[in-house]
């Protein structure tokens, strides 16, 4: 039960984070886009908690405002990649044949590129912008889930309960949706949650390089980049959004870990049983 409590705790933290990001616009103490050059580069103080940037914008408000873009575009991206990859993988694993051969060769081709290098190239071709950055990482990211879902489907395919379902006349769609996907879903979910952190860092990395969210929009990666040249004078400009990314990634990583540990005992039992059957 220790696992369950840990899982609940980190789920609560993640939900809190999501709520903050959703209502960030109402929580900002200052307008995150209002420039006031008289207040530029102020150190952290009672007025501006984490100081101001070179245009006198309140950094705390900008970090809050940036959370909406940073967190929700990451979640959107992970969802798209997971769903696309899983559907492709399950279909390939179940039907095999030409579909499997073609889709998996395509997946292999994308897997042959280091993902950030590929995303850089795609974002470079399409030009900056958050949509393009998300698209670039989605193209680079789905094959991983396709591979995973395919191998999990293959491992389930010959299971007795699926034979039974087939024999009792269930349609293929019903078997896939009601039996296969729920059975492999746990492991895919764990992988997806553990992927959130990495994805967020990659997305922020693209923005940091100027290929994602464009200034003046508040987003953590591009804020770090804006503050980079002033690291010696006003380090808080880039350290604050950096810390925000770090904490967010940490929470999602801990959540993923807790989720894996929570699901693990069951899987171990399944594995042992499977070993006996063979």
């Amino acid at each position: 039960m220790k696992e369950k409590r840990r899982l609940l705790f980190f789920t609560a933290l993640a939900v809190l984070l999501l709520l903050t990001a959703a209502f960030a616009a109402y929580l900002c103490p200052y307008d995150p886009y209002k420039q006031d050059l008289l207040l530029a580069k102020q150190p952290p103080g009672p007025e501006h908690w984490i100081g101001t940037d070179r245009f006198g914008r309140d950094i705390f408000s900008r970090v809050l405002a940036g959370s909406t873009v940073s967190i929700y575009s990451t979640l959107f991206l992970v969802t798209v990649v997971t769903v696309t990859g899983t559907v492709a993988g399950v279909l390939c694993g179940w039907f095999g044949g030409a579909l499997d051969a073609v889709l998996m060769r395509i997946a292999d081709l994308f897997l042959a590129f280091p993902s950030l290098v590929f995303a850089l190239a795609v974002a470079g071709v399409l030009g900056g912008g958050i949509q393009n950055a998300v698209f670039a990482l989605a193209v680079a990211g789905w094959p991983k889930f396709a591979r995973l879902a395919r191998s999990l489907t293959l491992s389930q395919k010959e299971a007795p309960y699926l034979m039974a379902a087939k024999l009792s006349g269930s349609s293929t769609i019903k078997i896939l949706v009601r039996h296969v996907i729920p059975n492999i879903g746990g492991q895919i979910l764990v992988t997806a949650v553990l992927d959130i952190g990495t994805t967020m860092m990659e997305l922020a990395g693209l923005s940091f390089l100027g290929l994602g969210v464009q200034p003046p929009a508040a987003e953590w990666g591009s804020m770090i980049n804006e503050g980079r040249s002033l690291l010696q004078i006003s380090p808080w400009m880039s350290l604050a959004p950096g810390a925000a990314i770090f904490v967010t990634v940490l929470i999602f990583n801990l959540l993923g870990d807790a989720l894996r540990d929570y699901m693990d005992p069951k899987q171990r039992k399944q594995k042992r049983k499977k070993g006996k059957d063979e």
């Binding site: 060769r105 292999d108 081709l109 042959a112 590129f113 280091p114 993902s115 950030l116 290098v117 590929f118 850089l120 190239a121 795609v122 974002a123 470079g124 071709v125 399409l126 591979r147 191998s151 952190g197 967020m200 860092m201 990659e202 922020a204 990395g205 940091f208 390089l209 100027g210 290929l211 990666g221 770090i224 980079r228 690291l231 010696q232 380090p235 880039s238 350290l239 950096g242 810390a243 990314i245 770090f246 990634v249 940490l250 990583n253 801990l254």
Partner: protein, 332 residues
């Protein structure tokens, strides 16, 4: 006895032969992948770069007549059919002719090979630093499982694993260059001193991941029957760890290495740009912002080729190190 001996010899021979066969098979499988990689890299940039010449002239300022644009397109070979262009370019990867940069007018292949050693050095030093840190720490954490040392190591590895490399880079820069003044913030040329911070940045997240995995691998091995047996026979703990457990944990390390090469190659782009390390990663990022497509094209294709080749080598190593895989066929 004699029969048994012959049996062994034959077994050894067949094993060698299956190994060669495996390598041959993997190399053959590589050919379509290589064609796919180069084609995709080329097609992607061509899709974007169709108007690169127009863009280039517009960038230089002033209106340009259609004739001059056509002339320039001819010069860059952009008037040829697509497949002809691809064939010529792919062949150029081997002969050293991958076009000229739109921005600097330099030969792309020359520029690339000139900057590749810097990136290779950074990659290698990061891997070395990673292993130097993570192997001892991973073993220590496993041996002292659930003691405070273990918790401390796991805590820091989690922290390291959750820091994006550009953030880690800024923290290190702030700490060692701005606050302590030990190292230069950025240097104009690659020196030993300027290698330290980028290496630390890249090694930080990798070492965190490795430490966790090595700890898990060592723990798993220490629960094996043969370790209990060795302990029962009175073999020293340190001997068991270094002689037996480490050998089997090598498989984990090789797997980790093959998995992290991709991240490493991607990571060098960001880290090189931050620290102004003059390698191919920085060159690529600069080229992307300048829309210098021939350079980006060459970079993407070469990185993918290197990645695929490294994966091939690690797969073969993996195959060689772990007899179980030899029988199991493809790995995931």
């Amino acid at each position: 006895m004699k029969l048994k001996g012959m049996h062994f010899v034959r077994n050894g021979q067949t094993e060698g032969r299956t190994m060669l066969k495996y390598i041959g098979k993997r190399v053959l499988q590589l050919i379509p992948v290589l064609i796919g990689i180069t084609f995709l890299s080329f097609a992607m940039m061509r899709l974007a770069g169709g108007d690169a010449v127009t863009y280039m002239y517009e960038n230089a300022g002033g209106a340009v007549s259609q004739e001059i644009i056509d002339e320039a397109k001819k010069e860059y070979g952009l008037d040829q059919p697509f497949l002809v262009q691809y064939g010529r370019w792919a062949a150029g990867m081997f002969s050293g002719d991958m076009g000229t940069s739109y921005v600097s007018g330099r030969d792309v292949y020359d520029a690339f090979t000139e900057k590749l050693p810097a990136t290779a050095l950074l990659t290698l030093s990061s891997v070395l630093a990673t292993l130097l840190v993570s192997v001892p720490l991973g073993i220590l954490a496993a041996v002292k499982q659930n003691k405070w040392v273990d918790y401390l190591i796991r805590f820091f590895s989690f922290i390291g694993n959750s820091s994006p490399n550009f953030f880690a880079a800024l923290i290190l820069m702030y700490l060692f260059s701005v606050k302590l003044g030990w190292l230069p913030v950025v240097t104009s040329e690659n020196t030993g001193l300027s290698l330290i911070l980028p290496t630390m940045t890249l090694a930080l997240s990798m070492a965190s991941k490795y430490t966790r995995q090595i700890r898990a691998a060592v723990l798993e091995e220490m629960n094996q029957d043969y370790v209990t047996g060795a302990k029962a026979r009175g073999v020293k703990g340190s001997v068991i760890i270094w002689k037996n457990v480490m050998r089997t944990s090598m498989v984990t390390i090789v797997t980790l290495l093959s998995l992290s090469v991709g991240n490493l190659l991607g990571g060098t782009t960001i880290v090189e740009s931050i620290f102004m390390w003059d390698g191919v990663g920085k060159m690529a990022v600069d080229a992307i912002t300048m829309r210098d497509y021939p350079v980006v094209q060459a970079y993407v294709a070469w990185m993918a080729v290197i990645y695929v080749l490294v994966n091939l080598v690690t797969d073969i190593l993996y195959h060689y190190l772990d007899p179980r895989v030899r029988l199991g066929g493809d790995r995931l």
